[in-house]
């Protein structure tokens, strides 16, 4: 009995120690899976930590959930890619400032034999129309994420109301959606960063890129001190300002996968 008790105490103590080992200065950043999965944070966060001594803990979720986390006061900072949503967030008083940080772009991926022949399309809208016309399988995130919202805007501009058995709403993140598209040889729209870092491509290939409408802007938000006074606003401001500083912008530009730059800094 005594032995058991000692064991329990020992266990509790170790766990307690382990849990408190990270109690230094840190902020929690709510961001999107595309930034996390591509490896961008692994590349730039150490540089920020070196410069300021502040650790950034990233909770990578869909854009919709990231907004929700920030709205509830569970994150100190927010870095997402839904400019319209971000502006609304500021208007509603949850954030005091929004700044452009960087962009990457969306690309259209599909089976290598390209049954809808979208590689010949001149615009993204044309490419999507071709897919709809051929009724070729298309995998949509269907999760109200930034990417999903951008995709739906594109269908609208193409004058197509996506539906029918060829249009598959998966309700999952970018990675799982790519996995599924690879498994069923479907077309899919992805952000370039996730695609380049994605390893399970099977028969998938990048088929269409470069249209300006595929531009994917990331913004950083300074959260409202008034709504959530408990947040670490001072450190969060340092992070926000570092991102749009020369140093931060350079760090973003320096991040490359297979020699390819994935995010393009464009802070004003």
């Amino acid at each position: 009995m005594k032995k058991t008790l000692n064991l329990v105490l020992a266990a509790v103590t170790t766990v307690g120690l382990a849990f408190s080992a990270h109690a230094e200065d840190y902020i929690t950043l709510a961001s999107t899976t595309s930034t996390e999965n591509s490896g961008l944070f692994d590349s730039i966060l150490p540089k920020f930590e070196d410069a300021t001594g502040i650790e950034v803990r990233v909770v990578a979720v869909g854009t919709g959930q990231a907004f929700e986390i920030a709205r509830r006061g569970d994150a100190d900072s927010l870095l997402v890619h839904d400019t319209a949503g971000e502006k609304r967030f500021v208007e509603n008083g949850y954030a005091t400032e929004r700044a452009d940080v960087m962009y990457n772009d969306f690309v259209l991926i599909g089976p290598a034999d390209d049954p809808a022949n979208i590689s010949a399309a001149k615009t993204a809208a044309e490419a999507l129309s071709a897919i709809a016309e051929a009724e070729a399988p298309f995998a949509s995130r269907g999760d109200d994420s930034g990417t999903n919202r951008a995709e739906l805007r594109l269908w609208e501009s193409a004058g197509v109301e996506p539906g029918g058995s060829w249009y598959r709403e998966l309700g999952s993140g970018m990675g799982p959606t790519l996995n599924t598209a690879a498994a069923m040889d479907a077309y899919v729209m992805s952000d370039r960063a996730t695609w380049v870092a994605f390893e399970n491509r099977q028969n998938l290939k990048l088929l269409f890129e470069g249209d300006k409408v595929l531009f994917n802007q990331y913004g950083s938000l300074l959260l409202s001190e008034e709504k959530h006074p408990h947040l670490k606003h001072e450190m969060a401001a340092k992070w926000h300002n570092w991102l749009i500083s020369e140093e931060g912008q350079q760090a973003i530009a320096d991040f490359k996968v297979d020699g390819q730059q994935l995010f393009f800094p464009n802070a004003k």
């Binding site: 329990v8 266990a11 509790v12 170790t14 766990v15 382990a18 849990f19 990270h22 929690t28 899976t33 996390e36 999965n37 944070f41 692994d42 803990r57 990233v58 909770v59 990578a60 979720v61 509830r72 006061g73 569970d74 993140g173 970018m174 990675g175 799982p176 790519l178 996995n179 690879a182 996730t194 870092a197 994605f198 390893e199 399970n200 491509r201 959530h228 408990h230």
Partner: protein, 232 residues
């Protein structure tokens, strides 16, 4: 691919780099602590339901049995809303910490431990009841005796709880946030690698997790079988 995954798993285990080590240790700490806390609450609860007759007892039994199937993501959502700054316990600032993960897993494991220990204790009580009454024992006095004498059965129950805790991903993902180096555990790392399309690595991590769980189960099995053979 599978061969590849086994190779990855093997090299993960052999090389055991610092970040993987941290993930493994955190997984074990979170799940073991959760199971321990759940046991301290769940075993007496299960024994109490077995021992006492009270109005609504049937409802409690059904509820405990049903809660064994509580979807982890629902438990995670509940704990998230509880610990969120906007929630009732937000002041504690526990969201996105290992403590939050422990709380969520306690909620997942508690019904399993309580429901199964109730069954085991009830069986044992059927065997012991006359002797207990003969000895003039109160129900409260029966509880520790029953819990101790059911120890081998309860160890199996404990392992079932640990299995659930270490295997679930929905709850820890939701309340832990899968933060690199802070709240990333085996299952959330597997989800992350899968979403990156790094399937061999994901599967390799899965094999590492399975190996760990097997080692723990095997140890417990050998210990309890040896003791059981000794105790008859």
């Amino acid at each position: 691919m599978e061969e590849n995954a086994f190779y990855v798993a093997l090299s993960l285990l052999v090389n055991l780099d610092a970040s993987l080590y941290q993930i493994v240790v955190l997984s074990l700490q979170v799940s073991l602590l959760a199971v321990l806390i759940a046991a301290f609450l769940g075993f007496p609860l299960g024994a109490a339901v077995a021992l006492w007759q009270f109005p609504g007892r049937g409802g409690v039994v059904v509820a405990l049995n049903a809660l064994m199937g509580l979807p982890p993501v629902v438990a995670g959502l509940g704990v998230y809303l509880l610990l969120s700054r906007a929630g009732p316990l937000g002041e504690l600032g526990l969201l996105f910490t290992p403590s939050a993960m422990v709380i969520a897993q306690v909620i997942l494991v508690l019904p399993i431990l309580a429901a199964l220990s109730r069954q085991k204790v009830e069986e044992l009580l059927g065997e012991y009841r006359e002797q207990f009454v003969s000895l003039g024992m109160s129900r409260a006095r029966m509880m520790p005796t029953l819990l101790w004498d059911a120890r081998f059965a309860l160890l199996t129950v404990l392992l079932a709880g640990f299995g659930r805790a270490s295997a679930e991903v929905g709850a820890v993902m939701m309340v832990g946030g899968n933060i690199d180096g802070v709240t990333r555990v085996m299952t959330t790392a597997i989800v992350l690698e899968t979403s990156k399309g790094a399937l061999p690595l994901a599967l390799g991590l899965g094999i590492v997790l399975l190996t760990l769980v097997m080692v723990i189960n095997a140890t417990a099995y050998i210990l309890s079988e040896t003791a059981k053979r000794r105790m008859g």
